[in-house]
């Protein structure tokens, strides 16, 4: 019996940037390209006369890879959401495995803004909020750069305002 995720605690308010779909697609294509490279190497080093296994394996990963590159980014985009209040941060992420993280800002230790190569190309950024627990970092991927900067400023201000030694 599927339970609608919103039934128990509403989803976080904001979606990530629409360009995140493009970012995840590019990242997926990189993975697919690596598989292609493996396939090419195999084609070159294989001495067996029959090329049938190559075509079969190639077809399988092409179908799986294409499905991954098309479906995963859309799926992710639908799941990924975030919301920050002056006292807490709440995120939802994943696709096959999904998770929600919720952390009070009084326990925040560091706030990081990261931009990978693809993210830089698309004007996106990821914000990571670290708490005193090694298991607790909260990351929001695919934020618009200006939104990310605003979020970092807001979180830093809020974390300073909250008291406590973050453990």
């Amino acid at each position: 019996m599927p339970v609608a995720p919103g039934a128990v605690l509403r989803e976080p308010a904001h979606r990530v940037s629409r360009r995140a779909v493009l970012m995840w697609t590019l990242q997926a294509l990189v993975v697919v390209a690596l598989l292609l490279a493996g396939q090419v190497v195999w084609w070159l080093v294989d001495d067996a006369p029959s090329r049938t296994p190559h075509w079969v394996v190639g077809a399988v990963w092409l179908v799986v890879g294409a499905a991954y590159a098309v479906a995963m980014p859309q799926w992710r985009y639908r799941v990924h959401r975030w919301e920050a209040t002056p006292h807490a941060i709440y995120t939802q992420s994943g696709w096959l495995w999904q998770e929600r993280r919720i952390a009070p800002l009084g326990r925040v230790q560091t706030v990081d803004l990261e931009r990978g190569p693809v993210a830089q190309l698309l004007g996106l950024a990821a914000v990571t909020i670290t708490t005193a627990s090694a298991a607790g970092p909260v990351t929001i991927h695919g934020l618009d750069l200006s939104v990310a900067h605003e979020l970092v400023d807001a979180l830093t201000a809020a974390a300073v305002a909250e008291t406590g030694d973050a453990t």
Partner: protein, 496 residues
């Protein structure tokens, strides 16, 4: 102990003996191999002796260059000749203090002090070594700083302390309550734990490695092996059980002999244990986030369990530093747990079960691998003609898997009390964690594809101590959010 004008102190000079000794022990296997190798050669050049002055010089250098002091509310450790390295830790971030004395430390009256603070390994200060009294005084200085009334010490932020003012807590002061003391009869539980068996295996591996260096001993092994293989199989099994049990008992005695847990007026927990290597661990009460009751299958069947502490600042590699009680009868462990966390419902009360979906998932997870192995056995019999008697394993596997799945479901449960979140899971390695509610610093609700289909989730409470996160596994989604709302109502209100 000497102290210069700026309050810097040195390690104990006796450590100069410890360092060459440790180096010697580390290279002992190599040295032995060398001696054996030499026996057959004409070469009389004892070049390994040249290493001795080098090792001693290195030790002296370390003694000269290492200094530490307590000043301005910080402990500072300075090391190195060419690259000066200073490690600083704020006193109010000190979590635990370990005193370790190996046999040769004990002979020389020394102890190694390890001070761990917030965070990981790089936040650890090691003083190798101080005199035992100086080490205990340092520990008292670090841990008793909070309450001047207890120690008569000034607050840490101030002038350096006069060391004579610091009480030496070597014998437990009268006001320390002894919570538990090892009863030698508990040694019977040693062979029942995986830890015991693992240490037995480690001893066997180490010993066989040591022996294999001497080729002339090999015939002894061969004769032994021939002798054993001629015995009836059940004698072999008994022999194996006997040897493993003996080794496990040996490991237990080495680790836990003289185990004692005390608590002082500030609530600092203090354990002392070890037959040859003496280890003392002090855990600041303010850093304790809860307790963990372990009931691995073997112990559970024998009516025993063991107790660990959930705290920030204990290091993983110091295996056993977080033990509050070695394997002991539940009649001892449960009352002990209650004295550390006086919450009857949390420590021994009934837990809320997680319902049919969780039960199905436990069974699937146990049975599917068993079915695969069983199928492989049948295939191996049909295709490669494996011995038919192996097929006896098939029903055993299936029955075992169902029993395991059911037991795992029985273990699954959680509860929320006014002060604690309790979660329990596992069959072979069952554990019940009693986590302080105010030690929880964040939440995760995780759902895999299959968990979403059946409406369950894994609720993860993150904390700065112990395993960093404690999971309520396969709990129905509504229940997960109910727990979240009950423990952190303010947090949920933010997003209502």
């Amino acid at each position: 102990m000497t102290e210069d004008a700026e309050g810097w102190r040195r390690l104990d000079a006796r450590m100069l003996l410890v360092h060459p000794l440790e180096t010697l022990i580390r290279f002992l296997p190599a040295l032995l191999a060398l001696v054996v190798f030499r026996a057959g050669s004409e070469d009389n050049d004892r070049w390994e002796l040249y290493a001795v002055p080098l090792i001693i010089a290195f030790g002296v250098l370390r003694w000269v260059t290492t200094r530490y002091r307590i000043a301005d509310g910080q402990i500072e450790l300075r090391r190195g000749l060419f690259t000066k390295q200073t490690t600083t830790a704020r006193l109010d971030k000190v979590r635990t203090i370990d005193l370790t004395a190996r046999v040769y430390h004990r002979v020389l009256g020394l102890a190694k002090v390890e001070i761990s603070t917030a965070g990981g390994q790089h936040d650890r200060l090691v003083l190798d070594s101080l005199g035992v009294d100086a080490a205990r005084r340092l520990r008292a200085e670090l841990l008793h700083r909070v309450d001047p009334a207890v120690t008569g010490l000034p607050a840490p932020t101030g002038a350096p302390l006069t060391l004579d003012d610091v009480p030496d807590d070597a014998p437990p002061p009268v006001d320390d309550e002894v919570l538990v003391r090892l009863d030698p009869s508990w040694i019977r539980y040693a062979p029942l734990t995986v830890t015991g068996l693992a240490s037995a295996a480690a001893i066997v591996g180490f010993a066989s490695q040591g022996f294999s260096r001497f080729s002339q001993e090999r015939s002894v092994f061969r004769d032994g092996a021939t002798f054993v293989s001629r015995l009836a199989w059940w004698v072999d099994v008994l022999l194996l059980l006997g040897v493993v049990s003996l080794l496990a008992v040996g490991a237990y005695v080495l680790t836990f002999w003289g185990f004692r847990l005390t608590r002082n007026r500030l609530g600092t927990l203090h354990t002392r244990r070890g037959l040859l290597t003496n280890r003392e661990t002090s855990i600041d009460a303010a850093r304790v986030r809860g307790i963990r009751l372990d009931e691995p299958l073997g112990l559970r069947l024998a009516g025993a369990s063991r107790l660990k502490v959930v705290t920030s600042g204990l290091l993983r590699e110091q295996g056993g530093s977080d033990w509050l009680c070695p394997p002991a009868p539940s009649g001892v462990v449960t009352p002990l747990a209650l004295r550390i966390r006086p919450d009857e419902t949390a420590v021994s009360g009934p837990l809320t079960p997680h319902g049919p979906a969780a039960r199905r998932r436990r069974l699937t997870r146990a049975v599917v691998p068993a079915v695969i192995v069983a199928a492989l056995l049948v295939v191996a019999r049909l295709l490669w003609g494996w011995h038919g008697s192996l097929l006896v394993l098939v029903p055993l596997l299936l029955v075992g898997a169902v029993a395991l799945g059911r037991d795992r479901y029985r273990a699954l449960g959680h509860s929320v009390t006014p002060d604690h979140l309790v979660t329990r899971h596992g069959s072979l390695d069952r554990q019940r964690v009693v986590l302080d509610r105010d030690g929880i610093i964040g939440w995760k609700v995780e759902q895999s594809f299959f968990q979403r289909r059946v409406g369950v989730a894994t609720l993860v409470a993150t904390t700065a101590g112990g395993a960093q996160h404690y999971d309520v596994v396969d709990v129905p989604v509504e229940m997960a959010y109910a727990v979240l709302a009950e423990v952190s109502p303010d947090l949920i209100a933010e997003f209502a």
